[in-house]
Amino acid sequence: MQAVTTLCVENLWLERGDRDLCRGLSFSLQGGQVARIIGENGAGKSSLLKYLVGTLSAVEGSVAFNGEDISAHRDVLIQDLLYIGHTPGVKSVFTVAENLKLYAPHSSNQELEYALTQVSLDAYWDTPAAQLSAGQKRRVALARLWLTQKPVWLLDEPFTALDVSGVEVLEQRIKDHVITGGIVVLTTHQPLHSLNPVTIELAS
């Protein structure tokens, strides 16, 4: 069996403009854990995720993935990572299926259909994403979670715009993922029902 996936952040100091978002933040996650970043609006939750992904650089601090220091280059992490941000890259000119195929090119049509059924979009296979409702657009982005093999998921407010049953399905998917040894880092302002996350607090 493969060694357990780990993701550790040491002594992180993030800054945006002149504002410190966090200073001396450390945490360490391992396969099987869901982490929830909490903090007010503007506390720096999205910024922290962006730092992990590597699009935002820190003043100070280091990240290690599977024991390897990746502060300078995220390449190793990125191979194993799925990130869904506030704007998740759903193309409005593409149909729902085309949007999925872009990110999961090796999936067969059955797999795509399975993923779409999970997010209750199976009737919208051929609908352009522009003609979907807010929640349905979000579901298109989230359908990728049923098609991916990557162990680390970083999800920025994945529950936004989802209805109650959507939230439930997504929580279930996250649970299934961590049971098989994955790591999920997410942010959300809504209460979680069936998940029991580690919390990472950003005080402002």
């Binding site: 990125i78 890259g89 409005s92 195929k101 090119p105």
Partner: protein, 220 residues
């Protein structure tokens, strides 16, 4: 995302949206028809100017089509996904520019013979014209891509960047029209075409890197 799924998706977007392809084509046709109408429709005026008019039209059309190359990808979050795709951003930029080039230049090249005829360009010159477009246009796209990448998230500063990129178009146009003019005067023109090719190769080497750096800086 694999490189081939990315490239296919790029082609599909262009095909679906048609906007940038057709805009370029229409722009091109418009410039070419406006000139006879607005300036002087006589063959004596048009024939010698044809090469220059067509090249200016092409440069403007290309400029227009690359100007907002990354805008939509920025807005819908795709650029962010590029960064976490595990592929080199330079390669993605290159593929995107290549897709755009294919979809914009092929229609232009197809329209070129007709429009050249309309401007009374001698038939012998049309092949030279075509070759100059095929060899020179990649440079315009690639240079434009740097500008587009720099301007994607900037407000205000964007203009300066454009101002810096545009002057780089001028050498391309000078050599391209130079080639056509030389051919018109029955002088050797391969030298100019070679220089054009060299500029394109240089742009090919530099532009994806520069654009990738700009994109990484823009997305945060």
């Amino acid at each position: 995302m694999t490189l081939s799924s990315f490239f296919k998706a790029e082609l599909l977007t262009l095909f679906r949206r048609k906007q940038s392809i057709f805009n370029a084509l229409i722009f091109f046709v418009m410039v070419v028809t406006l000139f006879p109408l607005g300036v002087d429709p006589s063959p004596d005026f048009l024939a010698p100017a044809a090469g220059g008019i067509i090249w200016c039209a092409i440069a403007l059309a290309i400029l227009m089509s690359v100007e907002s190359l990354f805008k939509e990808d920025y807005n819908d979050g795709s650029l962010e996904q590029w960064l976490v795709s595990g592929h080199s951003v330079s390669v993605l930029v290159l593929l995107k520019v290549f897709a755009q080039w294919l979809m914009v230049v092929i229609p232009l090249v197809l329209a070129l013979p007709f429009l050249s005829k309309m401007l009374f360009l001698a038939s012998e010159l049309i092949p030279v014209m075509l070759v100059s477009v095929l060899v020179g246009s990649p440079a315009l796209f690639l240079i434009g891509a740097i500008g587009a990448a720099l301007t994607v998230s900037l407000r205000g500063g964007a203009v300066l960047m454009l101002l810096l990129i545009l002057p780089l178009y001028i050498p391309v146009i000078i050599f391209a029209t130079g080639a056509v003019r030389a051919a018109q005067l029955e002088m050797p023109f391969t030298g100019q075409l070679a220089i054009l090719g060299a500029i394109s190769l240089l742009a090919l080497a530099i532009s994806p890197l520069m654009a990738a750096i700009s994109i990484k800086a823009s997305v945060s």
